[in-house]
């Protein structure tokens, strides 16, 4: 049982903590107020776009767009964010790393706000990735725990993988439309859907959305992400992060939606996710985990409903987003309070807390009723709408209605389990001294629960201000939404009653169901989580094999690879360009040139043939002198001098080094030497042939003529090589000087033999103390 910081002797809060918590509270509050003031303007003339030019050469702007959809999400993120921040301030008070925590949370909030307010595909993606990174940091906040680190990495890898797919999809989409701005992308439905790349785009975007919103088969990271402190779970897994995928789907509806592949994929994946996650949720005894699985259920339902063209289904999804954010945030915070006050979240060791914690009980009950969809809570309206929507979709695939009823019935059971069971029954001996939580902890969930009740009693408050514009933005056409508690006696009401009956039944049978599910789970050989481990291990194994064979660190083999590739590529190039039929004029060579060539050949032959390393080095030097002579004969004295000097210094250096090495006569075996020789001959031959082929072509070099003409009048120098180096191309030369400098410093550091003996860290610490 992992628990976080607990009350008791709390150290005084420091200045840094106070400033951070002030910023963390002021930021979402300010954003909330600003967005509230936008409700009117958005309803009248949506969307509102503003921003700055970012990378004009690529047509990318840093711009933001506010319409009904982004307004709804933005308000949820900032509003719920404010109350979660308030809760976190009390929940983690005195935690040694609280400032870091606040920073991560703020970063996450910024990322989410940017994501939902983004006005183009690129901005959306950048903020999408920020939320991925911030969530990694938050999930792994208790970094001393291996399980937290594992969960964080898992979440990062899965969502970042989806992010890459999303990036590809968004780039393709922008390419087809010719613009990344939503104002243009969202109205290009016909153009996009007629394009052959439409299917790849849908697949890529859906991978992005499904990984982020924990749809099957990527659902397992979300329950694992419960390793994060409870305020994070309340925020990430209720109102925000996991809703990013939902937001993306809703945002893309006007342009990508409506096709069969889109509708059917969303319906099937959503329904499967909702049903399977609901079953998995029934197994959990950890309150937080049970809630986490119901989040997956909710996400599945949302995805299922977004796969529809009926406005009532979309309205159901949008309303459910609102409902779910309120009750899920409240319930997570309640579980956090229970954990905080009792030290456990295990269902089996809790009970009878109602008398000790009446306020928390009240909040839990209100949120639980909303979750179960009881009137007069907003959850009831949401559920009625859901059934209407399900029936609207279900004309074709009837499984949507069945999935909705099944998932909702289990949600009722789990709502009762989480919200009621810890407060009912007998108080265990160990929990006799439990007290009610301080107001700082219960104020936030109280507000969340009250919002669910208020909007349930007066649904018109949100119907025209938030839900209506959001549905309009999702559908891409004007829609009006009417929310009301009483719809009359109709099929949805019958379905509701069925749901309650099933839910209550499931609640009473829960221990039996759990035992049955556990038996099935034990019987199954593996689950997604262990599959993930296997996949990750296979990946590490492949990386290891790759590293051992390609990044082995054996210099000789690197060189061999480079030479082999060079000669093969050169040969290929020669064959393609027909460079073999060349005509070399041997007659033109004079005696001194023949002599220099003889020196080169003699030097290399001796180097190959002799056994003593020193002789080999000296003969290589002789070969270098021959090359320098050739440079000299063909009018490049500067190059010749440089070659000679470098050759000399190199000889001295290598001779001194060899002198120190242990003497050995045979370095490598016959076969190795044969392969090396083959490689050397092939590189030499192909390079030589290439040079000859190049010389067959007339040399056209306008820069050469320019330098010849301009050298004296403009740079007052007759040595063109030097003038180019120090004047015309001085910046290049300076770059080279820096390279030489860096190389010298690096080599000096690497070759230093007299390393200072390392002092163990512990000893060094003692010394300092």
């Amino acid at each position: 049982m992992d628990t976080e910081v607990h009350s008791g002797d709390q150290p005084p809060t420091g200045w840094g903590e106070r400033i951070w918590s002030l910023v963390l509270l002021a930021f979402p509050l300010g954003v909330t107020l600003w967005l509230l003031s936008m409700i009117g303007p958005v309803r009248e003339h949506a969307p509102i776009v503003f921003g700055i030019s970012w990378i004009p050469s690529l047509g990318v702007e840093l711009n933001f767009l506010i319409d009904g959809l982004s307004l709804l999400f933005g308000l949820l993120i900032s509003g719920v964010g404010f109350f979660v921040a308030l809760y976190a301030k009390f929940y983690l008070r005195g935690h040694p790393l609280i400032q870091r925590f606040f920073f991560y949370l703020l970063l996450f909030m910024l990322g989410m706000l940017g994501l939902v307010l983004a006005g183009n595909l690129i901005t959306l993606f950048v903020f999408w990735e920020i939320t991925t990174i911030a969530s990694y940091l938050l999930i792994g906040f208790n970094h001393e725990k291996a399980s937290a680190r594992r969960s964080a990495l898992q979440a990062l890898l899965i969502t970042a993988m989806g992010g890459l797919a999303l990036l590809a999809g968004l780039l393709l989409l922008g390419m087809i439309v010719g613009s990344y701005n939503f104002t243009e992308v969202l109205v290009a439905k016909q153009q996009v859907q007629a394009h052959p790349l439409y299917l790849p785009i849908v697949i890529l975007v859906l991978i992005g959305a499904f990984t982020k919103s924990a749809q099957l088969p990527f659902h397992f990271w979300l329950p694992n992400a419960m390793a994060a402190p409870t305020p994070v779970s309340a925020y990430l897994h209720s109102a925000t992060m996991v809703k990013a995928g939902i937001y993306l789907l809703a945002r893309m509806c006007p342009v990508l939606g409506g096709s069969d592949v889109w509708l059917l994929t969303l319906n099937i994946v959503g329904a499967l996710t909702a049903v399977i996650a609901a079953i998995l949720a029934m197994r959990q005894t950890d309150l937080k985990l049970a809630l986490a699985y119901t989040t997956v259920v909710a996400l599945g339902i949302l995805v299922m409903f977004l796969g529809s063209e009926a406005s009532v289904a979309i309205a159901a999804a949008i309303t459910f987003i609102l409902v779910h954010s309120f009750y899920k945030a409240a319930l997570f915070m309640v579980v956090g309070i229970i954990d905080h006050q009792t030290g456990t979240r295990e269902l089996t060791s809790l009970g009878g807390l109602g008398k000790r914690m009446p306020i928390t009980f009240g909040i839990a009950a209100a949120a639980g009723f909303s979750m179960a969809g009881f009137p007069p809570f907003l959850g009831f309206i949401g559920k009625e709408l859901k059934y209407e929507g399900a029936l609207a979709i279900a004309e074709e695939p009837t499984f949507v209605a069945w999935a909705a009823v099944f998932a909702n019935a289990l949600m009722v059971a789990i709502a009762a389990t989480v919200a009621l069971r810890p407060f009912w029954g007998r108080l265990p001996e160990k929990l006799q001294s439990v007290r009610e939580a301080p107001p700082g902890l219960w104020i936030s969930p109280l507000v969340m629960a009250l919002l669910g009740l208020t909007f349930g009693l007066a649904p018109s408050l949100v119907a025209t201000t938030l839900v209506g514009p959001a549905v309009t933005a999702t559908m891409g056409q004007e829609e009006t939404v009417v929310l009301k508690l009483w719809h009359g006696i109709n099929l949805p009401l019958v379905m509701s009653i069925t749901t309650f009956a099933l839910g209550v039944l499931a609640f009473y049978l829960q221990p039996n169901i759990r035992a049955l599910l556990n038996r099935i789970a034990n019987w199954l050989p593996r689950n997604s989580d262990t599959q993930w481990d296997r996949g990750l291990n296979a990946f590490k194994w492949a990386a290891g094999v790759h590293t051992r064979h390609i990044q082995h660190g054996i210099l000789k083999q690197y060189l061999a690879a480079v030479f082999a590739v060079t000669s093969v590529l050169l040969l290929w190039g020669l064959m393609r360009s027909g460079g073999f039929d060349m005509d070399v004029d041997w007659e033109r060579l004079t005696v001194k040139e023949w002599a220099a060539m003889a020196l080169v050949f003699a030097g290399s032959l001796v180097a190959i043939g002799c056994r003593a390393p020193l002789t080999a080095i000296c003969s290589l030097g002789g070969m270098g002198v021959g090359i320098a002579l050739i440079f000299l004969f063909f009018g490049a004295p500067d190059v010749a001098i440089t070659q000679l000097l470098v050759e000399t210094l190199f000889l001295v250096l290598v001779a001194m080094t060899l002198h120190r090495l242990p003497h050995s006569t045979e370095v490598s075996g016959r076969r190795v030497r044969f392969v090396d020789a083959l490689l050397a001959v092939s590189v030499g031959t192909t390079v030589c042939l290439t040079l000859l082929a190049v010389l067959q072509q007339p040399l056209i070099s306008p820069t050469k003529e320019y330098f010849e003409l301009a050298s004296v009048p403009e740079a007052f120098g007759r040595n063109i090589v030097n003038v180019i180096l120090v004047d015309f191309r001085a910046l290049d030369t300076f770059g080279e000087v820096v390279v030489v400098l860096v190389a010298a410093v690096g080599a000096a550091a690497l070759l230093r033999r007299k390393l200072k003996p390392r002092v163990p860290i512990a000893a060094a610490k003692e010394e300092r103390a």
Binding site: D638, T642, L649, D727, A730, L731, V737, V740, V745, R753
Partner: protein
Amino acid sequence: MISLILQGATRLLVALILLFSVYMLMRGHNLPGGGFIAGLIASAAFVLYALAWSLREAREALRVSPVKLAAIGALISLASAVPGMLKGFPPFTGLWLFIGGGAGDKGIPISTVLLFDVGIYLAVLGAVLALFFTIEED
């Protein structure tokens, strides 16, 4: 291995080689030579000195650490970019000053280009010696 002949010859040769390197540096703009070649020649002088006497004495003769020398050289090269920029030209534009020029005689040319080459000279000298000294170090 101590060779009296080599040591004796080195005393003379090193001075000559160093002088020659400066000569190569100065003439580089019009004839074969220049900062890079001159730097290599100068480092050959110190290598010879180290072989004949000892590494320690070569280090002492150089007075500054070779890496520092190389860094100073690079900075001098960089500094030659500044005068041109101050006058509103692109960086590294060569500026010339002819001292004591008259009819038919240009005088002694002094330029930022020469400063640049001096920087390269020092940078190459420092870099080669840094490498050599570390390899030779016991």
